[in-house]
């Protein structure tokens, strides 16, 4: 399996893992090396990222998981990026969050984060402050978490009369695959097979 430089493989894995990070045991499983070896390697890499002056990201360890993050001294530049006039539209994070709230309301922050796979409190905050979404009740159960929904302004802004005018998604927002045209034949085949078969195999 190791036709590739182990440093490169680990970098790509850390990158893909994102906020969730990678544990030593995951690394050892994917790389097919011992836990000890995985630990030595990741720590060597960690030092190397930190030392290289031409690198803007480094490896941090949080709660036993390693993840990539921008180096602290880069913060002023990132701040400048956010402030630059070119970026005056809603961020990708905010747009994603808004889409999820619009289609799945009422919805809690936790569910949104499950769908997006990343922390989402700030984008939610942005959207609330722009008046596009609002608190729309509380979830049942222990935490009584805030439920979010879109506002009247949201409809106004997008020129909709009501939520039913949102374009239908072909894909379920949970990530389950929607009905695809090519599948219709098989769907109808399945349905002709009787209801005791699970109709969807998504």
């Amino acid at each position: 399996m190791h036709n590739h430089d182990i440093d490169a493989v680990i970098e790509s894995l850390l990158f893909a893992a994102g906020d969730e990070g990678l544990s030593i045991s995951q690394l050892s499983a994917v790389l097919d090396i011992s836990m000890q070896e995985a630990e030595i390697t990741i720590n060597r890499l960690k030092e190397s990222y930190a030392d290289q002056k031409n690198r803007g990201i480094h490896i941090v360890e949080l709660a036993g998981a390693f993840q990539l993050a921008t180096k602290r001294e880069m913060t002023p530049y990132i701040k400048k990026l956010v402030e630059s006039p070119v970026t005056s539209t809603l961020s990708q994070a905010a747009l994603e969050t808004l889409a999820i709230v619009a289609y799945r309301q009422p919805i809690t922050r936790m569910t949104i984060e499950e769908i997006r796979g990343v922390k989402t409190d700030r984008p939610l905050h942005t959207l609330v402050s722009k008046g596009l979404i609002k608190e729309a009740g509380r979830a049942e159960g222990a935490g009584r978490a805030i439920l979010y929904g879109t506002t009247h302004e949201f409809l106004d802004y997008f020129g909709l009369n009501d939520l039913s005018q949102l374009p239908a998604l072909t894909e379920d927002i949970d990530g389950a695959e929607g009905e695809e045209e090519t599948d219709l034949f098989f769907k109808s085949l399945q349905s002709s097979l009787g209801a005791d078969q699970p109709a969807d195999h998504e």
Partner: protein, 254 residues
């Protein structure tokens, strides 16, 4: 959910015609109308047998084909009234059809290339933007300045869907077992013989995975054709029953 079963496998009459032209190794610029019409009608019939909801476009094309065919059979007596001897470019009744086929084929091929690009793009992994809202200035842009529309929303969502998520558990990949039609036929037959009685049609499809279902379906068709099994239905909408014929025939005997 609405059930508008598409005439599957083909993207319309033009697609079907291209398929036939390619299969019959016909020169697209010189289509033998009799042959192509006959083949076309065969497919239409097959789709009807399958009770696929045949889109009206297929029938329109069928009559177009027949019309062209009959126009080509008409005796050519143009010469008789071709008064001046100007080189008179006789119009081929097939021209318009050929033009449409070629135009459609261009995009059909472009679609194939797009599919490749889709797969290529799908093979690399990108990451969600870091949440940067902590750096956002106090002065919030007003909604009017945002200049986003629903398409941006949908685009962002599509992008999100493309992003890969970390698996919670390390999953062990179930290697997909390829089943051959022969093997599936044997399974079905052994099963039915052991039972010594009818089985429900849907029981032919124990695994609801597309490839397996197709193979099972084809296996049942083939067994029917070889008279190894019989299929009956007591009345409309009742269960379809599958039963093995008594006999000693073995499937797939070398």
């Amino acid at each position: 959910m609405e059930y508008s079963v598409k005439v599957d496998a083909f993207e319309g009459p033009l697609d079907l015609l291209l398929h036939l032209i390619q299969g019959l190794e016909i020169d697209i610029y010189d289509i033998p109308m009799a042959e192509i019409s006959e083949q076309y009608m065969l497919y239409i019939r097959a789709m009807k047998v399958l009770e696929l909801n045949l889109a009206s476009e297929y029938l329109v094309m069928a009559s177009t084909l027949l019309a062209i065919k009959s126009r080509m059979l008409l005796p050519k007596h143009e010469e008789s009234w071709d008064h001046d001897d100007a080189p008179f470019e006789e119009e081929d009744p097939r021209d318009e059809l050929v033009e449409r086929l070629i135009e459609y084929r261009k995009y059909k091929h472009a679609a194939v290339e797009l599919k490749e690009k889709e797969q290529e793009r799908g093979s690399f992994y990108t990451k969600a933007p870091v949440d940067l809202s902590q750096f956002e200035t106090q002065k919030q842009d007003s909604l009017e300045e945002l200049q986003i529309d629903l398409h941006d929303l949908l685009g962002a969502f599509n992008k999100l869907m493309r992003r890969k998520k970390l698996k919670k558990p390390m999953s062990t990949k179930i290697s997909r077992q390829e089943v051959s039609i022969d093997k599936r036929m044997e399974e079905i037959l052994t099963d039915l013989r052991k039972l010594n009685g009818p089985k429900l049609f849907h029981e032919m499809f124990p695994i609801t995975e597309k490839p397996h279902m197709v193979i099972s379906f084809l296996a049942v068709l083939e067994l029917m054709k070889r008279n190894e099994i019989t299929i009956r239905q007591e009345h409309n909408f009742s269960d379809i029953l599958v039963e093995a014929f008594e006999g000693v025939n073995l499937v797939a005997q070398p």
